[in-house]
Chain length 566, copies 2
């Protein structure tokens, strides 16, 4: 790369990352998967929008020189390979085995039926699906079947966590099924890619299948054993956590080279290495986190944004194709999963929820589509239709499951805070004054009378004082007519006596008001606050927050990282 | 990149990382900087060794196709840019200001004198230094002066931490001086690069200087202010820690694009952005750590290893040049720093220590040398001589300072453990039996009589019991004739009464023996163990270690990560 290519290289990467992450955060704010925003960033900066509106600027930002293009390709290729490793690490092999028969049955039907839909459609409607592609219709049909049968593990896992269903029986079944789908889907796809060389000719299918299965079996048995044996001495005798990090990344890269050499794609190598690595009981949460954070927030957004750079979605938009793909994908997947779920004994409602959950396609299918596009297997129109299908099914899965199961996203403490209810220096010197002062800050939001609320809180206080020690008090009450929890936070310089077991006065006071009937909710919030302030240092840190924003940042990050350190 | 280039791409990156980190760890084991091992990995895998011994394998591993070369270049270029950002984050701006005049005086002399040595040598001995280079002798002289005047901040910081001198007055002075040297050196170098375009012609020096100074001033004032204002809302309202991570990396990349566009190198942009970013008081330790760990252990080794791929050090080895560069570098730097240190009031011994500390060149000068080589400013012979000089001065700095100041590397707890002195299931049921059992495990290593040592420990025990609660006891004694501390660790299934304040029996027993005269040492070790076992969970985790390796891993990682979470 020469001087001007290097400038463009850094500018393009910086800009893609910035816009991708901003739109990703925006998507999350509207309870949508962040991958949506990241893809959109590429569409905006790429030929579809910026290229159409301001071709000059677009050409300057993304010069079509070989050095620049190869440079960006190298970084995004590395990025997606590492992202698949992180996705592999998240797979819980033992959970799959525990769920046993049920998940295999649901997997089977959940794949076979959409596969049949996809395969059949491509065979029946060649002019719609094959289009200008030079590849054999049969291969495209197999590809479409495979693409429709995959479920997005990261997306569905995220939805289940949001719905507080991840650890439920239903949740574990869905995860197990998604993992099996993922692995089988990738193997199928690897075979498709392996049967084409660059010229589009087919080489021995059996060799590719044998090598793929051989690699998978070896890494999940011998590889897993070796990794499990190496991790303890690595953690004991090398720099922590650098030794394990380098081992993981170099192992993933070498596995990528191996699968690429076999003729299936590099990302199957990193994914399988990730599964084997993540399964070791010696792997520390911290190692997992460093890999996850850096890769998911830097490399993955760069990759997803770069997709939009490669195709002009306006030019290649085909409404019929988009709708047909969306329809067969959804009907096939929901139907297949629903039937199988009923068979293994789930209720109608649960089966429907599983069906819509499995329907989320998310990131994996986009990667797969891009590889197929680059290999010349599918054309741009089908690629655009697959991307749209992946996004719509992912977006629909959460709301659909929520509606079917009647469960809502679990809000965190930060969702109940507001800047008016933060009193960094309280005037009160006694318990009743303090409570009144905090209630006054919340009362306007409740529409209730200040006196009434104060009295309810004091009632509670009289039955048993809420000073929990460590200079913290958590007065609270359930209030008639309240529709959502509210929290006020006050700091007292001199301390207020809340009759704590350790005899100390409270400097940090959380007032928690919850709706009358939500006893469980109240307990949860109180437990959360207790966990947040589990040590003297945590209390001290909180008391040093000078603004509401600083306080919210502290609570936001403490909530997320708790239990992160082993 | 086509299929075979992609295979080579992943294989090369995986192999470089693996070998670089293995040799890096090996170097650390011998108390040498890990960059030495990382560079050596490139030399071994590159043209110097593998290329000479097995040209076929070398050509297969590193094919000379444009796609592969650009791909590797993209990843290592990104790597070094991000590494410089991390180095910038470590800079403590306020420490520089606090040390004020003294550090400026030492910086000045510590740069001017070696600059004069380097500049003078190149002007007086053109046939040695200029060689076959087509560039103006004056530019080479300025470059050599600059190269000799830079101090390696990361290396010297690491040495000071190892010697337990980082927070001392002397340590802070050295750090402050190194930071100033770094910044001034980079500015000088940027100007040199800016005055050459690719053809070797000079463009307006003043424009480059003005832009460079303008950029530096802007990012350290306006930029710093903006970063400081953005961080709190970013931490409060975006995914934690993803929001801050993406902001940091995209900001660094955009700064890189800007400086590259100005005509100075991209890495000055990321470095300066890092300084501004790291200075924000809102930056959390955890963000810093994720960036540091991933970049220092993945990207930096890849970059340093890739250097060895680019030059055949055997072919370009010039003994005279190597020795001359080493000599003028060391004499100039030590002399300049020593004189200045004496001037501002340090003792002879301290001044000499500062001199040798400042002499460490480490990673920065290697990067600088590589850029100069790529820009055609210097030839391969001088590049090899500069690399050797950087390594030798870095290697010498630690031992020299240690010898001068009489301080030793501070060992951690793990250095006092040995596998024979770990008793996962003790037989003892009473305090004296337990102590005797642990002493028996250590006695062979001390050469002392078991009875004598047991009695010393029991004597101590009788004055005040060492059960510290939380099911832990730390019996200990200072022993005549012992030369180094020794620790034995035992687990008791049923618990042994050590008369703890919380009334619980001890299940985890650390026996600590230290040399007779090292009272301070003993206190330190006891405090370390107390910190290690600061919570019930920490004790529980330790008790679950089944093997010595697992136990050592736990202590190793706990020691390193303590205080890491805010």
């Amino acid at each position: 790369m020469d001087h001007s290519e290097l400038t463009a290289f850094f500018l393009a990467l910086g800009l893609l990352l910035l816009v991708a992450r901003m739109l990703g955060e925006l998507a999350r704010r509207f309870n949508m998967p962040s991958v949506l925003g990241e893809l959109l960033a590429g569409v905006l900066l790429g030929p579809s929008v910026l290229g159409a509106l301001a071709p000059g600027i677009h050409a300057g930002l993304f010069p079509a020189t070989p050095g620049f293009l190869t440079g960006i390709e190298a970084v995004t290729t590395l990025g997606i390979a590492l992202f698949l490793m992180v996705a592999g690490i998240e797979v819980d092999l033992s959970a799959i085995l525990r769920q046993g028969k049920a998940s295999f049955v649901i997997s089977l039907f959940g794949m076979v039926i959409p596969f049949a839909f996809g395969f059949g459609s491509a065979m029946l409607l060649p002019e719609l699906f094959v289009g200008s592609s030079a590849v054999d219709q049969l291969l495209i049909a197999v590809f479409l079947g495979t693409a429709l049968s995959i479920t997005a593990l990261p997306v569905i896992a995220k939805i289940l966590i949001d719905l507080n269903m991840y650890r439920s029986d239903l949740g574990m079944i869905i995860i197990a099924v998604a993992v099996i789908n993922d692995i089988v889907g990738w193997l199928l796809f690897a075979v498709i890619l392996g049967t084409m060389n660059e010229a589009g000719q087919t080489i021995s299918v059996w060799w590719t299948i044998a090598m793929t299965v051989g690699f998978t079996v070896l890494i999940l048995t011998v590889g897993r054993f070796i990794i499990d044996a190496i991790l303890p001495p690595l953690q004991a005798y090398t720099t922590w956590p650098g030794g394990v990090l380098s081992f993981a990344v170099s192992g993933g890269l070498l596995a990528a080279a191996l699968t690429e050499w076999i003729g299936i794609h590099a990302i199957l190598g990193t994914f399988m290495f990730g599964v084997a690595f993540g399964d070791s009981k010696h792997l520390r949460e911290r190692t997992r986190q460093i890999l996850d954070h850096f890769i998911s927030f830097i490399f993955a957004p760069l990759f997803f944004a770069s997709i939009g750079l490669q195709v002009d979605i306006v030019q290649y938009w085909d409404t019929t194709l988009v709708l047909v793909v969306l329809l067969i994908a959804t009907v096939g997947k929901v139907l297949g999963s629903l039937v199988a779920s009923k068979m293994v004994g789930f209720s109608d409602r649960e089966s429907l929820a599983i069906g819509f959950g499995m329907n989320a396609r998310g990131g994996m299918i986009i990667i797969l589509g891009l590889l197929a596009l680059q290999a010349g297997l599918i054309d741009e129109r089908l690629f655009v239709a697959i991307i749209v299908m992946a996004l719509v099914t992912s977006l629909a899965a959460g709301p659909a499951m929520q509606w079917i199961m009647g469960q809502r996203k679990v809000p965190g403490l930060v969702d109940f805070l507001n800047s008016k209810a933060f009193l960094p220096s309280m005037r009160a010197h006694a318990r009743d004054e303090a409570i009144d002062e905090l209630v006054a800050a919340l009362a306007p939001a409740t529409g209730l009378s200040r006196e009434e609320v104060t009295e309810r809180v004091m009632d509670r206080e009289r039955t048993m004082s809420t000073g929990i020690g460590r200079r913290v008090a958590i007065p609270h009450a359930r209030i008639d007519g309240l529709t959502a929890p509210l929290i006020a936070i006050g700091f007292s310089k001199d301390g207020i006596d809340f009759d704590a077991p350790d005899g100390k006065t409270a400097r940090l006071i959380f007032l928690v008001l919850t709706p009358r009937d939500e006893y469980q909710r109240q307990l949860q919030i109180l437990a959360e606050i207790g966990k947040l302030l589990r040590s003297d240092q945590a209390v001290e840190r909180m008391l040093q927050a000078e603004t509401f924003v600083a306080l919210r940042a502290l609570i936001n990050s403490e909530e997320k990282t708790q239990g992160a350190m082993e």
